[in-house]
């Protein structure tokens, strides 16, 4: 299968690979997917308590090129956003940006799930109710 140039670029030069301290009060960690399904994404955000903006985002992904690119792109988009703005990131935006073929749409869904999971981890840590998937839109 031929990958789009953007997928190849993210694969070859992944943005924001790494690990944030998951015990930090301001860090939210989302771990989604399963090894037996062939993709696992861990996405982390660090929220600036003063401004409420996401000041850092990191990922690590076990998966195909499209999964790696989807999570890499997600971290790029998350930085500088508020939590509310981050929740607006839709998987179809990722599909469009990376020109993912239909068979790879699940990679973008996983990235969206990872964002929500990271936000919810952050919310729970800070005494807030987690947001359910369907309430998002």
């Amino acid at each position: 299968m031929a990958y789009s140039d953007k997928v190849i670029d993210h694969y070859n030069n992944p943005r924001n690979v790494g690990t944030l301290d998951k015990n930090n009060q301001n860090v939210g960690t989302g771990l989604v997917g399963a090894p037996e399904c062939g993709d696992v994404m861990r996405l982390q955000i660090e929220v600036d308590p003063e401004t409420g903006l996401i000041k850092e985002a990191k990922f690590k992904t076990f998966g195909c090129g499209s999964a790696i690119a989807s999570s890499s792109l997600a971290t790029e988009w998350l930085k500088g956003k508020t939590i509310d703005q981050a929740l607006e990131i839709d998987n179809m935006d990722i599909v469009e940006e990376l020109s993912l073929p239909p068979v790879k749409i699940h990679c973008s869904v996983l990235a969206e799930d990872a964002i929500l999971a990271a936000i919810n981890d952050y919310r729970i840590k800070n005494g807030l109710e987690p947001i359910k998937q369907k309430e998002k839109i």
Partner: protein, 408 residues
């Protein structure tokens, strides 16, 4: 690095092989100059074509220790598998309708069996395999009955290269009066396979896995002790002793014959050379932490190695080793989203099946290419593991089996 090395390096010889230039030369006159129909009896164009086909039939028969009359030309191994299994079930319906095969067979065998089951024409036993990829002869012994007409077990597996105990399987089949058929697509031309010595009654194989052209294959059908017959699956002019109608692909058959002739002369040396290179590749890659060899280490073709790189996903790895043309047992490389059924049959976790790469060496593989491949794979695995959350968890001593995964 030698700049003459052609990238990507082709290490997928179990999928197909390039046509040997000597084979191509043998074929060329049969496209234009000697283009006759081998079934035309009334003029020299036809005679010339027939003569070439007879010669090729002889070359192919020689490779497997058969008589040339026992070679039926087809379009490839898939057709040969279909013809053998469906043809035997139809021809021997009076004896019974039980078939025995195994779970790691190629789809050409498995789906043919399923088709017969679905139509109510056969009952099929699918033997499991052990973690080494080998069937258990005791289980075959238990499964076989007087109703069994055919035992069909592949010579060597296409994904892991594991070679089954063919001679013993044939003996068990014959002990109950069943025929023994083998899909030897991966083995013929790579290692010596002699039909009499092994007790093979029917054997499917193809030209394009042995440096011949695509689109031509053969079914060996035993003529003596016992005389085996299959019912034709395609109606027409009654070519190939009535078992397979259709105008013969003369240039393809000439190429198949030439390829067989070269294999007969060169395969022993080639197998030795490739085993050295394969072992070098394999041993180097297995030195990487958390890598596993799939399939039996010894009962195996000399040019194949299937390795799982734990905590790295196969398709991601293939993208990382873009200078190598290899294939993966990962779901992502196939149309379905299921990882390789062959690797799962060995009892591999889905996760390890997803992480597997098959390396298939061939006639034109050089040591320089293997050295390059080793470094290329090592680098990609290390980079992807740096990016893998599973690798990090493993390094932290977290048991991945204890994690509650959020499947999607």
């Amino acid at each position: 690095m030698n700049t003459n090395m052609k990238l990507p390096i082709y290490l997928d010889h179990n999928a197909t092989t390039p046509v040997d230039p000597r084979v191509l030369q043998a074929m060329l006159p049969y496209f234009t100059e000697h283009f006759g129909n081998a079934a035309s009896r009334s003029h020299p164009y036809g005679w010339k074509a027939e003569e070439a086909v007879d010669y090729a039939r002889e070359q192919i028969a020689n490779l497997i220790g058969a008589d040339s009359k026992e070679i039926i030309f087809t379009s490839g191994a898939t057709e040969s598998d279909n013809l053998a299994i469906k043809g035997v079930i139809e021809m021997y319906a009076k004896k019974g309708n039980h078939l025995i095969t195994c779970v790691t067979e190629h789809k050409a065998v498995l789906d043919t069996c399923r088709n017969l089951e679905k139509k109510g024409l056969a009952k099929v036993t699918y033997l499991p395999v052990g973690t080494d990829g080998l069937i258990d002869l005791n289980q075959l012994q238990d499964a076989i009955t007087d109703e069994t007409v055919l035992v069909s077990i592949m010579y060597a597996n296409n994904e892991i290269g594991v070679v089954q105990p063919i001679k013993e399987i044939a003996q068990i089949a014959h002990s109950k009066g069943a025929l023994f058929m083998t899909d030897a697509t991966q083995g013929v031309g790579k290692v010596p396979i002699l039909v009499d010595e092994l007790g093979i009654d029917l054997m499917a194989f193809t030209s394009h896995k042995m440096y011949g052209p695509k689109g031509v294959g053969a079914l060996y059908v035993r003529r003596k002790n016992p005389r085996v017959k299959v019912t034709a699956q395609m109606d027409g002019g009654g070519h190939e002793r009535g078992m397979r109608s259709g105008t013969l692909n003369v240039p393809g058959i000439v190429g198949f014959g030439a390829a067989a002739d070269i294999c007969k002369k060169e395969m022993n040396d080639e197998a030795k050379r490739l085993k050295v290179l394969r072992d070098k590749l394999e041993n180097s890659l297995l030195q990487i932490e958390e890598t596993y060899l799939n399939g039996h280490k010894l009962h195996r073709l000399p040019h194949v190695s299937n390795i799982s790189f734990k905590y790295v996903e196969g398709e991601g790895l293939i993208m990382g080793i873009k200078d190598l043309a290899v294939s993966s047992g990962s779901a992502c490389t196939s149309a379905s989203l299921e990882p390789s059924y062959v690797l799962k049959s060995l009892g591999l976790d889905d996760e390890l099946a997803h992480s597997s790469i098959r390396f298939g060496l061939g006639r034109f593989t050089t040591e320089e290419e293997i050295d390059y491949a080793i470094e290329h794979v090592k680098k990609a695995v290390s980079q992807l593991r740096e990016m893998s959350p599973l690798w990090e968890m493993f390094k932290e001593g977290i048991d991945l089996k204890s994690v509650e995964w959020v499947e999607h």
